[in-house]
């Protein structure tokens, strides 16, 4: 008897919920979205190309400053000489370690960003 009452009540509630959902009319947009978009604040951030240009500019400037400070890039010639003089196995090991380091940093950055 009690169970029948519960089932009946549940049915009544389901019917009421269904009726409530049916009562919701679809409200036509009628310019509402356009009105909202007009009110949105614009240009919080620079466009992508501007950011890329700034990054490139700063990198070039830093390179020029480093070149001038280190006496016309003498350190590059020194480093090249050092590398040429190194045994082939050592050069391969350095290249491998550098590759692994870059991969590890890139992977951890990607994981952090995905969270």
């Amino acid at each position: 008897m009690g169970n029948e009452l519960n089932i009946d009540e549940q049915l009544q509630e389901d019917r009421l919920d269904a009726k409530l959902r049916d009562e919701v009319p679809y409200i036509d947009d009628a310019g509402f979205t356009a009105c909202v978009v007009q009110q949105l604040p614009s240009g919080r951030r620079q466009p992508r190309f501007a950011r890329a240009a700034i990054l490139l500019g700063v990198t070039l400037l830093a390179s020029v400053i480093a070149y001038l400070i280190t006496g016309g890039g003498a350190f590059l010639a020194n480093a090249a000489e050092f590398l040429v003089a190194m045994p082939f196995a050592s050069v391969c090991a350095i290249a491998l370690l550098s590759g692994l380091l870059v991969t590890a940093v890139g992977t951890s950055a990607a994981v952090i960003k995905a969270r």
């Binding site: 009562e23 509402f32 009105c35």
Partner: protein, 178 residues
């Protein structure tokens, strides 16, 4: 293929893409405006103003949307906050009281010219019960989601839904016998 809410939110976050946000507005405007119309007791102009405010706030604060809840649930929360602030300004936060509801059930006071339907019965509920019923029964939110939208305990949401439903059933039954 239509983009999901998550895709559109990502585009807004990445590029401040107004077109993507417009798509989100188009997808959700009807439910948000519908909810606000019910909360403001069918004052469509006020409801639409609040809905606009809701979407503008959503755009400004989209970085705080972490995707833990559905985008629509997050929007409902903003919409409800907008409504609460407006109601506080207008000092209309208190809904129609219980005695008024009882009077509506009294056949002696029933105006035959009134359209006695579910929508009207909803308007007779006190605000806290009406809001809970609208969110859970009409918009399909779980009790847990509704408690987050309304920022009230889960038990209170369940009680409000239960009482609201009971009152609706009584009102409908009373009108059916007249």
């Amino acid at each position: 293929m239509a983009l999901t809410d998550a895709d559109l939110v990502a585009r807004v976050l990445l590029d401040d893409d107004h077109h993507a946000f417009a798509e989100l507005v188009r997808n959700h405007q009807s439910t948000v405006r519908g909810l606000l119309r019910q909360l403001t007791r069918t004052d469509a102009a006020l409801a639409d103003d609040l809905a606009q405010e809701t979407f503008v706030r959503a755009y400004r604060n989209i970085r705080s949307f972490r995707g833990e809840a559905k985008f629509s649930t997050w929007l409902y929360r903003i919409a409800y906050n907008c409504f609460r602030e407006e109601a506080r300004k207008r000092k209309e936060l208190v809904g129609i009281d219980e005695t008024q509801l009882e009077a509506e059930h009294d056949p002696q006071t029933v105006d035959p010219a009134l359209r006695h339907d579910l929508a009207q019965a909803l308007q007779l509920l006190p605000l806290h019960e009406r809001t809970a019923v609208l969110l859970c029964c009409q918009n399909g939110l779980s009790h847990d989601e509704a408690s987050r939208v309304l920022e009230i305990p889960l038990g209170t949401v369940k009680t409000n839904v239960l009482r609201g439903r009971e009152k609706l059933k009584k009102a409908m039954a009373a009108w059916a016998t007249n």
